[in-house]
Symmetry: C2
Subunit: 198 residues, 2 copies
Amino acid sequence: MIAEELLLEFGAEIITYTKEEYLFEEGKKAHYYFQVKSGEVKMNNFNAQGKEFIQSIFSCPRSFGEPPLFSDIPYPANAVAVSKAEVFRLKKEVFLDLLLKYPKVHLSVTRGMAKRLYYKAIMASEISSEDPEHRILTLLDYLKKDVHHLNEPFSFKVNITRQQIADLSGLRVETVIRATKSLEKKEELKIKNRKLYR
Amino acid sequence: MIAEELLLEFGAEIITYTKEEYLFEEGKKAHYYFQVKSGEVKMNNFNAQGKEFIQSIFSCPRSFGEPPLFSDIPYPANAVAVSKAEVFRLKKEVFLDLLLKYPKVHLSVTRGMAKRLYYKAIMASEISSEDPEHRILTLLDYLKKDVHHLNEPFSFKVNITRQQIADLSGLRVETVIRATKSLEKKEELKIKNRKLYR
DNA sequence: TAATAATTATGATTTAGGTCATAAATTACA
DNA sequence: TGTAATTTATGACCTAAATCATAATTATTA
């Protein structure tokens, strides 16, 4: 996250995307630094059969899509607005210039990438080795602790749909529905009028 | 990757690990920057049933395990020597100091993390959505192009075992063996006395 | 160089989770 | 406020890959 004033000072634009609109596409080169101002943006992939995999969902003040700004690699996934979203957009060259001028900002960008690498490492291991219930709990615990900074049991009202949980954990929506019901029986989750609590 | 002279100048130690020896463990706090000098190191997880997932395999001059140096997160996986390995080890505080003194080094460390994030994003999507043959080809193509910088067809002699391919792609070794044979029939791979070529 | 371990190989069987179909409940929106 | 779309829900079934068993081949090391 980079302070809004600093972004504007360096000439960042604020762009409004409508729901489902693409910000960039898998395989393309990166030209901008992006940071969410309002709304939500997801990064995703589709396989040949049209199954979606959501890499991550970002809301204010998260940035995303930095890796290809640093290295000569294309975007590994698309970025799509989940809802109407306002996004800061800063030209690549200006962004890199900013990092050199402000080492602390560079460090905070690095810190953000470190956290995402942590999340990816955890989910890769989960998706490859764990059963649906385990995967879902790990995902929800990550969101609860590392994103929403909550600790009390059942204090986290899950704000994503079963379908999104499925797409984030590599499962199918029916499996998520069945697994969450089973987790409710085991008192790992609460379900109050269809909303999950963890 | 940080130049060896610079590492030594900042007081890095060179530590020799024997095959199978642990460098650090999942869940622990990070105190050092690590960089391979010789041999190979892998990062891995084990699930409750003992199934291994390999996050990555690192050889000279790759660094690994930086994310928890930047953010207050534990190691998401173990680091284990695949073979006898010599590793540069630099104290966390000295490492961060070095980055501030040498912005270009900071940028190259960031670049390294960016590449790993790219690999993780690709593999997460593969493991979650693709069939065994697709996963294996994506993994091998990544190793071929992005690690070994090769381009010619079948110029990449795969230097990891079927078991390691399985542990990197979330499959079982029998599945990898069957899938690679099928890929050979489709002329996507060559197999010359048990070695894979891509 | 003999013994042991690791790797590759192959068939038979099992099963978890995907797929398909259908519907109720809730939410969005025109 | 009524209609459409989305989300949650549930049962039946099917299949891809895991599991299990067993062995040949190659590599390691004692």
